[in-house]
């Protein structure tokens, strides 16, 4: 039976129509492509009027197939499937033809673009005629959610979900939750104390009846799909029994081994070999750093064991593997600091009194290594002048092109703290001041009034080589003041480099584990940069906080809450529909060769030795189609992407070059067709 195909060519305003003659494509389809009974072009196909047009044609013209030539299926496939569904047509009998992203937006020549659109429409019609009605599979959504990362974004997501009554598993890599925010002293622009607003959230998450916290643990493996993921968590050996430890700290106090703390104190302070990252750590359970512990390294000591009254020290503790079922995953893995020594002209690591922003945060912090006193590297001298250098490793094509979004405000905060605590002169070397959130500009004005000096220009060099009187023993900032239009040398005692926020070093690896990708810079890719900044291309995996792009605390909190809201929506609905794109084997034709068995990385194909046939376990099949392409007998069918459909698509896409053209006696084949 001949199908009745409707073709709908969208102008997308001028997005498509500006480069493709939509009207001509629609007319051509009606006249030249078989089975096309209706063909229309319209300004905005995705508008309610456009959808209504399709629905009406399905009802009145008795369409059995629909082709929408518009944008990428990743944008509006769902929209048009719904429209078909509304009119009683199985949604899988609709095919999208991408003439915007793949044609009008990338073409330079209107005729060539229109030609390309014709062949894509022809391919889509050829394919849609062979499409089969399918029913999406329904999967129950497990109400338990996995949150990866216990920084402020992850904590917010965790608490939102837990408060709504849903179970949450929070996995944090370091020994304590809290993330970078726990290292800060004050937060801009209100200057409220970071610990005061963060620690209640940390303990709330830990004590919450709906939250299971695994700290010092990492997500190792993810399988399954939306609604029913299986995850494997490796809980690293703390060498301390969590159920026995009371957090008294006697072990830490008596531990004889002192180690430079490169994590929490960013190299400015010391910790012991058995340690808690900071006094308010959650959980309040120490960890033995086996690489530095005398017992683990030299087989002597065991002081902590002797000091521990509850007997919680366990030197033989092994990593624990925890396997869980979860319905959704929220990644909130945060950021890492740019390695400022990659810019040798700024002297970090060579010039003692050049600090990074994270080091300076610790200097300002009352609980930090200096007790909140801003002093030089010698630990006692207060600086009389401080330079703050913006955009170190950001807005720099050699390192990171992106703006780190937080540094301007953090620099202003630092300026305020220096002025408040020391009375030193503060110079800010900026490219542009970016203070575009609520109360940020006001804070900038406040600092202008407080007497912080602003010099517009990227710093060329920081040196200790004095050339002019007054420069001896100082660090000299060499910079072009672009407002004055001349070179300046400013001698200071201390320099703070505002290092860039960068994606975590293993962000890509973790992303792959969860089936999501990263941008070129390494941030997780959201489903849509404007309209869907929380979801990802993989259903059931959401992102929150700085792992999706550099952002400040308010934005991270908002995104954490948004991710939680999205997950709650899924849980409340209870089921989720999954694309029925899976493989199936026609057992009649199967010779039991088992070639397909080894093709499947999910072990979704099982071999029935008794009947000498292979069979696809639909629940495990992800629908890649590799087995379909491998079957020598051609008896595996990939639903929605079967051989007949793709074959037709190839024929359709080459409508102007096909064997037909040759048979027509075009000796010079191509020349005639071009």
């Amino acid at each position: 039976m001949a199908e009745r195909v409707g073709v709908y060519v969208c102008h997308c305003g001028s997005n498509i129509a500006g480069m493709v003659d939509c009207e001509a494509v629609a007319r051509w389809a009606k006249e030249n492509v078989s089975d096309v009974v209706v063909s229309r072009d319209y300004k905005f196909m995705c508008s309610s009027l456009g959808q209504a047009m399709i629905e009406e044609d399905i009802r009145k013209e008795g369409l059995t197939r629909v082709v929408v030539a518009a944008c990428s299926p990743h944008l509006h496939e769902k929209t048009f499937r719904r429209a078909c569904s509304n009119a009683g047509l199985n949604p899988y009998l609709m095919q999208m033809c991408n003439i915007r992203e793949h044609v009008s937006w990338v073409a330079q020549d209107r005729d060539a673009a229109t030609d390309k659109a014709r062949s894509l429409v022809s391919a889509s019609v050829a394919r849609v005629r062979r499409q089969k009605p399918l029913e999406p599979m329904k999967v129950t959504v497990n109400p338990r959610t996995l949150v990866v990362g216990g920084g402020i974004a992850g904590l917010q997501a965790t608490l939102e979900l837990a408060d709504a009554g849903y179970p949450v598993v929070l996995v944090e890599r370091s020994p304590s939750i809290g993330g970078h925010m726990a290292q800060f002293d004050k937060t801009f622009p209100t200057l409220d104390c970071s610990a005061c607003i963060l620690t209640p959230k940390m303990s709330e998450a830990y004590q919450h009846e709906n939250v299971t916290l695994y700290s010092y643990a990492e997500l190792e493996e993810v399988s399954g799909s939306v609604g029913s993921f299986k995850v494997r968590i490796r809980k690293r050996a703390r060498s301390v029994k969590e159920d026995l430890c009371t957090g008294c700290g006697a072990c830490i106090e008596k531990c004889p081994r002192k180690v430079v703390d490169n994590d929490f104190e960013v190299g400015l302070g010391y910790r012991k070999a058995i340690y808690m990252p900071f006094p308010q750590a959650v959980p309040k359970i120490p960890v033995i750093d086996r690489e530095n512990c005398t017992w683990f390294q030299r087989g002597k000591c065991r002081v902590c064991e002797k000091m521990c009254q509850p007997g919680a020290i366990d030197y033989d503790q092994q990593d624990e593997i925890i396997e869980l079922d979860v319905g959704n995953i929220i990644l909130a893995t945060g950021w890492k600091l740019f390695d400022c020594s990659r810019l040798p002209q700024y002297g970090y690591g060579r010039l003692a009194n050049v600090f990074t922003n994270m080091e300076f945060e610790r200097l300002c912090n009352a609980a930090g290594p200096t007790g909140g006193r801003i002093v030089l590297r010698d630990g006692k001298t207060e600086p009389a002048s401080v330079a703050i250098v913006h955009c170190v490793g950001s807005r720099d094509k050699n390192h990171n092109e992106h703006c780190s979004a937080v540094c301007c405000m953090a620099a202003l905060k630092f300026g305020h703290l220096v002025l408040e605590k020391t009375g030193a002169e503060v110079y800010s070397f900026y490219i542009d001041m970016r203070t575009n959130q609520k109360m940020y500009e006001e804070f900038y004005c406040r600092l202008l009034e407080e007497g912080m000096h602003f010099i517009r220009g990227r710093v060329a060099e920081i040196t200790d080589a004095a050339r002019l009187p007054g420069e001896e023993g100082k660090l000299i900032i060499q910079c072009e003041d672009t407002l004055l239009g001349r070179q300046r040398r400013i001698p200071v005692d201390m320099v703070v480099l505002m290092g860039a926020l960068e994606p975590q070093a293993d962000a890509k690896e973790l992303g792959l584990r969860c089936g999501i990708s990263c941008s070129m810079a390494g941030w997780y890719t959201e489903r849509h940069p404007k309209l869907d900044p929380v979801a990802t291309m993989t259903d059931g995996v959401f992102v929150a906080g700085a792992c999706q792009g550099a952002k400040d605390i308010p934005a991270a909190v908002a995104q954490g809450a948004a991710a939680a809201a999205r997950v709650m929506g899924m849980i409340t609905k209870g089921t989720v529909e999954i694309e029925p794109v899976t493989a199936s084997i026609d057992e009649e034709g199967c010779s039991g060769c088992r070639i397909c068995n080894n093709m499947c990385p999910y072990n979704a194909i099982e071999y029935d030795a008794g009947r000498n046939v292979s069979r696809v376990i639909t629940a495990l099949c992800k629908g890649c189609g590799t087995c379909v392409a491998a079957c020598p007998a051609g008896v595996i069918t990939g639903a929605h992407f079967n051989n007949e459909q793709i074959g037709a698509e190839i024929e359709g896409i080459l409508w102007d070059a096909g064997a037909a053209a040759a048979r027509a006696g075009a000796a010079s084949g191509h020349a005639a067709a071009v």
Binding site: E101, V106, M537, A629, G658, G669, H670, A671
Partner: protein, 164 residues
């Protein structure tokens, strides 16, 4: 070769990386040659080598297969199977007397719109240099020709037959 030769190229792009890279090229308005006509498949592993041969037989001058980078496949490792098939396919093309450069396998992650556009431009330029393939036109249905081919096939089969 006509100067106006515009290669017709069929591109099989995987749904997760390279199709999205092509989308990204569009969103970023990265102009590139319009010659590659894209067919979306779920995975580069779905590309049956016979699809490639079919496209060439139907008049394509070149075929591009694009997938996720090795190690980054959405389906764990299926693009490695694509690599294996690609090697064999190249071999087969040579055996058929075709320039194996008419088929190209490339990788593009969802973030590599620019890279994909450049790869398309390069491939189009390379196929343009090779000139038209004209397989369908050369595919003669002349009975004498067909008979000769069948005779050759029969001789081949005979030679391959293992005596019982």
């Amino acid at each position: 070769m006509s100067e106006a030769f515009e290669p017709r190229i069929v591109g099989f792009l995987c749904n997760w990386c390279s199709y999205r890279a092509a989308d990204l090229a569009g969103i970023s308005r990265i102009k590139h040659a319009p010659n590659v006509r894209i067919i979306r498949v779920m995975c580069s592993g779905r590309v049956d080598p016979s699809f490639v041969l079919k496209a060439l037989a139907l008049g394509a001058d070149g075929v591009m297969v694009a997938g996720c980078h090795p190690g980054e496949c959405h389906y764990i490792e299926q693009n490695y199977k694509t690599i294996r098939r690609y090697g064999m396919l190249k071999h087969t093309l040579k055996a058929l007397g075709l320039e194996d450069d008419r088929v190209r396998l490339i990788w593009a992650s969802a973030a590599e719109g620019q890279q994909l556009a450049e790869a398309i431009d390069r491939f189009v330029a390379d196929v343009r240099k090779l000139g038209p393939l004209n397989w369908p036109a050369n595919w003669s249905e002349d009975p004498a020709h067909l008979a000769a081919v069948e005779k050759m096939a029969a001789e081949h089969a005979e030679a391959m037959e293992v005596p019982v």
